[in-house]
C-alpha cells in the first residue's frame, strides 16, 4: 500500500480523503517510502476471527474452521525433485538452544507482491513434445493433414477420434495411454 504524505494533512483529518487513499496525487504530494501503518490503523482492524456477532453473546457460535496439523503428507517415493534437506542444521529438540535455522531457498518467484509467479514450463514442454509425436504419427497414417504445431486443436481432436475408432479404442478425441500405446509412443 503506497502512502501519500499530504501537504495539507488537515484534509485527512477532516475526513476528505481516506487514510489509505491511493487516489490520484493532488499537487504538492510527496511520495513517502515505506511509511509504516500507524498504530491506530494496525490495531483498528477487521479481524477475521468471529465466533459470535457480539463478544458478549455466545449462545450461537459459528466457528468457521478449525485445523490441526495431523494427517496428510505429499511425500512421494518416486518424486524427489524439490526435496531440500536443510544443510548445516540439525533438529535437536532437547539440545537446550535453538540451533535450527530456517534456510529458505532462494525465491524462484519475485518477492514483490503482485508480480507474476514463476511459470512452470516443464510439463508444457513435455506435453508439446508428445503432441508433436502424436501429430506426426497421425499424419503418417493419414488421419491428420494439419500443421504439426505441438498443440491439440479441433483438427487434431477429429484426427484422434478417427484413429481411435479405426483402432477400436474408446473414442475421446484426446491423447490417452491407449492412443500412445497404439502409436508406439512412450511418454516416459
Amino acid at each position: 500500500m503506497k502512502k501519500r504524505l499530504f501537504a495539507i494533512p488537515s484534509f485527512l483529518a477532516a475526513g476528505f480523503l481516506p487514510a489509505k487513499a491511493d487516489a490520484v496525487s493532488p499537487a504538492g504530494v510527496v511520495e513517502k517510502k515505506d511509511a509504516p501503518a500507524s498504530i491506530f490503523e494496525r490495531l483498528h482492524l477487521n479481524h477475521i476471527y468471529s465466533l459470535a456477532a457480539h463478544r458478549s453473546h455466545s449462545s450461537h457460535r459459528s466457528h468457521s474452521s478449525h485445523r490441526s496439523s495431523s494427517g496428510g503428507s505429499y511425500a512421494a517415493p518416486r518424486y524427489n525433485r524439490n526435496i531440500t534437506s536443510t544443510p548445516n542444521t540439525t533438529i535437536l529438540p532437547n539440545s537446550g538452544q535453538n540451533v535450527y535455522q530456517a534456510t529458505p531457498d532462494t525465491p524462484v518467484y519475485p518477492a514483490v507482491p503482485g508480480q507474476k509467479l514463476k511459470v512452470l514450463p516443464g510439463n508444457t514442454d513435455k506435453f508439446r513434445q508428445i503432441v508433436i509425436q502424436v501429430q506426426t504419427a497421425l499424419s503418417l497414417y493419414g488421419y491428420y493433414t494439419g500443421t504439426i504445431d505441438g498443440r491439440i486443436g479441433p483438427e487434431s481432436k477429429v484426427a484422434l477420434a478417427k484413429m481411435q475408432e479405426a483402432y477400436g479404442l474408446k473414442v475421446t478425441g484426446t491423447i490417452t495411454p491407449e492412443v500412445l500405446n497404439a502409436l508406439g509412443i512412450t511418454a516416459e
Partner: protein
C-alpha cells in the same frame, strides 16, 4: 473418512501438475482447468491440453471445482482444495524445530517445496475460501511462506488464511511484511501450553521456547495480527490451567480467541496417550476455573475437539464443531444422540477403549 487422495491414471509429467476439475461451465476460466469429457462407473475423464486425465472416484463424490496436485510417478492425486469443504489445509512442510509431547504429525527431516503449486491452487480456490496453512512448522520457510501469502493476497483479496505455527521464527522486521500481506487476511493459530516457562518448554521439547514465544506474541500484538491461542489440555498442564487463564487474561488480552483443545490420538499423541490424555468427561474442574476466569476478563474462549456429551451442560456453548470433515467420525453410541448435528464428533483415530468414560447420547 474423506479421501484426500484420488487414484489417477499415469500422465506424462515431469514436474508437479496442478489442475482444477471443471464439470460445469464456470464464469471464470484458468489455464489450469481440466474439463469433464466422460463418465463411467467409478471413473471420470477430463481433458487437459488435449490429454485425457482419468480420475478414479465414487460417482457421488462432488469433484467440480476441486484443485488437484499430481506428482510425477505417483498413482494418486492430492486434493489440495476441495470446493465443497471448509477444511482445506495445505501442508507446507514436515520439518519442525519443536518436539511436542502430543504432536499429531511428528517431524520429518526433509522438506518438499510446493509453494509454487500452492500459489496456483490458492488462486483456483472457490470464492471466499478460508485456507489452512499447516506443518510441521511453516515459519521455518517463512520467506517462501510470506511470498505465497503476499502473492495470494494480491491475486485473490477474498481469500483468508489460518496459519498454524509455533511462532518461534518471527522477528521485528517481519512485521512490515505482515502489514503488506494484510493483518486482516491471516489468523495465526499459536500453541501455548502453560504460563510456567519450564513446563511449556518441557511440553514442546525445546528450552527457551516460552520466552521466544512471549517476545513474538508481543510483535504480533503490535502488528495488529489476529491470534488464535491454542492450548491442548493434558495431564501435564491440567493443574496449571487456571494459572494459564490468568496469564492469558492479563498478559495476552489481545488474542482473538483462546482455544482449549482435546488431544488427537495420532503420532506422538498416540504414543504418549496414557501419560497425556486427560479425560475431561469425568473431571472438568480445572477447565471450569480456567474458562470462568478468562470469560470474566472478557477473553473469547472456545473448546476444540470436545464431544458435546463430554462437557458439562453450561459449558457446551463454548464447544463448536471443530474436527475437520475428512478426519471426523461418530461412535456407535452417537446414533441415538439428539445433539449430533451440533457436535464435532471424534477424530478418526480416536480409540474408545482408551478414551472418554462419560460418552452418552444427549
Amino acid at each position: 473418512m474423506i479421501d484426500l487422495r484420488l487414484k489417477v491414471d499415469p500422465l506424462p509429467i515431469v514436474e508437479p501438475l496442478v489442475l482444477r476439475l471443471c464439470e460445469r461451465d464456470r464464469s471464470e476460466h484458468s489455464e489450469h482447468d481440466a474439463h469433464l469429457i466422460g463418465r463411467e462407473t467409478g471413473c471420470r475423464e477430463y481433458e487437459y491440453l488435449g490429454f485425457s486425465v482419468r480420475i478414479h472416484a465414487s460417482d457421488e463424490l462432488p469433484l467440480d471445482g476441486d484443485v488437484l496436485m499430481i506428482l510425477p510417478g505417483q498413482p494418486s492425486a492430492h486434493r489440495l482444495i476441495r470446493a465443497t469443504s471448509m477444511h482445506n489445509t495445505l501442508l507446507i512442510t514436515e520439518q519442525c524445530d519443536q518436539l511436542c509431547v502430543m504432536c499429531s504429525q511428528p517431524p520429518k527431516k526433509h522438506h518438499l517445496d510446493f509453494f509454487d503449486q500452492f500459489a496456483i491452487a490458492a488462486k483456483l480456490a472457490p470464492s471466499g475460501a478460508y485456507i489452512g496453512i499447516s506443518g510441521g512448522e511453516p515459519l521455518l520457510h517463512k520467506a517462501r511462506l510470506f511470498e505465497f501469502l503476499a502473492s495470494s493476497a494480491v491475486a485473490r483479496p477474498d481469500l483468508r488464511f489460518h496459519v498454524l505455527t509455533n511462532a518461534q521464527h518471527l522477528e521485528a522486521e517481519d512485521m512490515k511484511r505482515l502489514d503488506e500481506i494484510g493483518p486482516e487476511r491471516v489468523l495465526w493459530g499459536i500453541p501455548l501450553y502453560a504460563s510456567d516457562s519450564k513446563l511449556h518448554d518441557e511440553i514442546v521439547g525445546k528450552r527457551g521456547a516460552f520466552h521466544r514465544l512471549e517476545r513474538n506474541l508481543a510483535f504480533l500484538m503490535r502488528a495488529g495480527a489476529s491470534v488464535e491461542l491454542r492450548t491442548v489440555v493434558m495431564q501435564q498442564n491440567w493443574g496449571f490451567l487456571p494459572d494459564l487463564a490468568n496469564f492469558v487474561a492479563n498478559r495476552l488480552p489481545f488474542v482473538s480467541v483462546w482455544a482449549l483443545m482435546q488431544l488427537e490420538r495420532i503420532g506422538y499423541g498416540r504414543m504418549n496417550w496414557r501419560n497425556t490424555f486427560k479425560d475431561t468427561s469425568t473431571e472438568f474442574s480445572a477447565l471450569k476455573s480456567a474458562i470462568n476466569m478468562a470469560v470474566a476478563k472478557g477473553v473469547e474462549v472456545a473448546l476444540y475437539n470436545f464431544p458435546l456429551c463430554s462437557v458439562p451442560p453450561d459449558y457446551r456453548q463454548f464447544a463448536p464443531s471443530t474436527i475437520s470433515d475428512w478426519k471426523r467420525k461418530f461412535l456407535h453410541v452417537c446414533r441415538e444422540c439428539s445433539s449430533r448435528s451440533a457436535c464435532g464428533g471424534f477424530f478418526e483415530w480416536y480409540s474408545h477403549d482408551e478414551g472418554f468414560e462419560g460418552i452418552r447420547p444427549l
